[in-house]
């Protein structure tokens, strides 16, 4: 029996050790977890760029880009009346020093307008060395996290070099890493010592069984002595007096203290960048062909500009399907999820000024599956949304349309 037990334990240890040999760092943070219709029809990110991806502790790095708030906002998702532009990090390995929406700094949450266009910039500062996968993203109240495109950042240097000094309104320069820590520890120790003294006062004498017996025997008066009463009275008077006195001293030490700030920032959208009215695109139909992993759109394009335009890109949920003939015009980050030949057109000829053309475009790639976007066809809300990019090669202009349609699955 003993030998059998030992064999079992050794086998279990061997199996567990196999797991420890294959430990890998988690590389994702749920960016595919949100339903596809939310990822595709809420915040539509584009032109997101990092100014560098390798930097030192204390060095600043910024991410900037643009996003369109989809007009076809899902009915099951609350409107973005409180949204927080955030950064996904494994803890504060970076700190956020500045954040701008449409060029305006903002500290709190913000209300976004469906159909609105915004640009953003976040400035971060390296705090802890390491290699981290980082996304800009929006926390949407009651909806979840809508991720922007992610990149790998490498922070080099020593964590002990990090400093974060801030000047208060009174002109005092404080170190955020240690501010108030010594004072906090002092007060915890002070009250902790007082509490320990009170506990030891009682714990030094026989406790549970002897006291229970005496109580049952009616010797209650012997359990609480006059000394006990005196100390309790002193505590009853002394503790509140001390609390109020120290509180008054703190109030006089920080007379300009203010309550926590809780306002919602109000920032209006830019003038229309997407669906700006020069080139209009209307989606007539969308079909998803499951075996081919391709989304086929039938769209009607109305070119009201003065030059020919060509469709160059379809982008949804940070996946970019590029027309191989127009890759040079692509302004996004080519290291992210980009299908360089993923977009094909039924009629690749440029759409002439004044022309209205109904045509089929196909976005085909394994990204539909690997990014779990094909789950759309099994959702209660199976509408797709995304941005269609059209280019004018004569004057170098770019026109963007936010398109949307119900998706019809084709199983064979």
């Amino acid at each position: 029996m003993k030998q059998l037990l030992i064999k079992c334990m050794v086998s279990l240890g061997f199996i567990l050790s196999l797991y420890t040999l294959n430990i890998a760092t988690v590389m994702a943070h749920g960016e595919k977890a949100l339903e596809p219709f939310i990822r595709m029809r809420t915040i539509q990110w584009y032109d997101v760029q990092w100014d560098k991806q390798k930097f030192n502790v204390n060095e600043e790095v910024s991410v900037s880009g643009k996003f369109h708030v989809a007009e076809d906002w899902p009915v099951s998702v609350p409107k973005p009346e409180a949204a927080f532009l955030n950064i996904s990090t494994p803890g504060p390995v970076l700190i956020r020093t500045e954040r701008y929406l449409n060029g305006k700094p903002f500290m709190n949450s913000v209300a976004l307008q469906p159909g609105g266009d915004y640009n953003f910039k976040i400035v971060l500062k390296g705090r802890l060395p390491g290699r981290y996968h980082i996304h800009p993203f929006f926390n949407l109240k009651d909806a979840g996290q809508v991720m922007g495109p992610g990149v790998w950042l490498e922070i080099t240097g020593s964590p002990s070099d990090f400093f974060n000094e801030v000047k208060t309104i009174n002109g005092e320069v404080i170190d955020m890493e240690t501010y108030g820590l010594g004072n906090g520890i002092f007060w915890h120790l002070f009250w902790g010592l007082l509490a320990t003294a009170w506990l030891l006062w009682w714990l030094r004498r026989p406790l549970f069984i002897p006291r229970y017996r005496m109580l049952e025997a009616g010797l209650e008066d012997e359990l609480i002595t006059s000394h006990d009463r005196l100390i309790a009275k002193a505590m009853l008077v002394g503790v509140p007096l001390l609390v109020l006195a120290v509180n008054a001293m703190t109030i006089s030490e920080y007379p300009n203290a203010i309550p926590l700030q809780a306002s919602l920032d109000q920032i209006l959208p830019l003038s229309a960048q997407v669906n700006a009215g020069v080139v209009d695109v209307e989606t007539l139909k969308a079909e998803y062909r499951i075996p081919e992993r391709s989304m086929e759109f039938t769209v009607k394009v109305n070119n009201r500009s003065e030059n020919p335009v060509q469709i160059g890109e379809f982008s949804t949920a940070n996946v970019h399907f590029l027309n191989k003939d127009l890759q040079a015009a692509y302004q996004g980050d080519s290291t992210t999820m980009t299908a360089f030949e993923g977009l094909s057109l039924e009629n690749p000829a440029p759409i002439q000024p004044g022309e209205q053309r109904t045509m089929t475009i196909t976005a085909r790639d394994g990204f539909w599956e690997s990014e779990k976007l094909n789950g759309l066809i099994r959702d209660a809300d199976s509408r797709i949304g995304g941005l269609l990019f059209l280019y004018d090669s004569v004057i170098g202009a770019r026109y963007i349309s936010s398109i949307t349609a119900a998706v019809i699955p084709k199983f064979n």
Binding site: P92, L194, L203, A217, T250, N256, A257, P259
Partner: protein, 250 residues
């Protein structure tokens, strides 16, 4: 049913019996300490949660309302057991001290070393002054009613002033991004929390500042009233747990 020991037949334990009962004291104390560190800390994290975790959640309305209200629960129950069965007026202090031990362990190891937050951003609040007063009132009054009314109210009313010396300095204003923030707000902005957007904070909501903008005293008095009721409820929960039904001889 409980053990009836008559006054005349009572003999204190001596020798081996005294030694064993003392060993039993230590055993129970160690077990109780770990029990309260675990259970009260879990209860507190699940109910008070972010108000105690983060410096930028410690506002003048909800923090002084919620924290004592949830913090008086275990102290009331343990006082009920310790006082009615042993005449030991240390239940509240023991519970709150155990809570703080658990909280500090978590803040240092989970929040600081594991998740890289500076400890000053996750500095816990203290309820020890209120707990000491609660124990003293119970001992001197030997009355549930008096302890619930005076002790429960004191526990709530002392919370904000006893923590202002710790957290007042985090309310110094800072000019940042064309606006004003407190140092505490700036912690929330700078030290990134992926799962904690700013709008999740339940702070400064409601109309408790109606009376001349004095939000904290109003919240404290509201909490005091609720603590009286909460204390009584949890006293009886403690009493229900402290049965001696199966004790025949001691």
């Amino acid at each position: 049913m409980s053990v009836n020991i008559s006054n005349r037949s009572f003999r204190p334990y001596t020798g081996e019996k005294a030694r064993i009962t003392r060993a039993y004291d230590y055993l129970i104390l160690v077990l109780a300490l770990f029990l309260f560190i675990g259970s009260f800390h879990l209860h507190f994290a699940l109910t008070v949660g972010d108000w105690d975790f983060w410096v930028d959640w410690k506002d003048r309305q909800w923090w002084p309302l919620v924290t004592p209200l949830m913090g008086i629960t275990f102290p009331a129950a343990v006082q009920s057991v310790m006082w009615t069965k042993f005449r030991l007026p240390l239940g509240a202090t023991l519970c709150v001290a155990a809570l703080l031990i658990g909280t500090w362990i978590t803040r240092i190891f989970a929040y600081h070393y594991w998740n890289y937050f500076p400890i000053n951003m996750v500095l816990p609040a203290t309820m020890l002054p209120g707990a000491l007063v609660l124990d003293a009132i119970l001992m001197l009054s030997n009355s549930l009613t008096v302890t619930a009314v005076l002790g429960g109210a004191s526990f709530a009313l002392l919370f904000y002033p006893s923590n202002w010396p710790l957290f007042g300095m985090f309310h110094v204003p800072v000019e940042y991004g064309n606006g004003q923030l407190t140092v505490a707000d700036l912690f929330g902005f700078e030290y990134i929390r992926t799962g904690m957007p700013e709008y999740l904070r339940i702070i400064e909501r409601g109309t408790l500042r109606t009376y001349g903008q004095y939000a904290a005293p109003l919240a404290a008095f509201c909490s005091a009233l609720l603590c009286i009721l909460m204390y009584t409820l949890w006293w009886f929960i403690g009493k229900w747990f402290a049965t001696v039904r199966y004790l025949n001889k001691i």
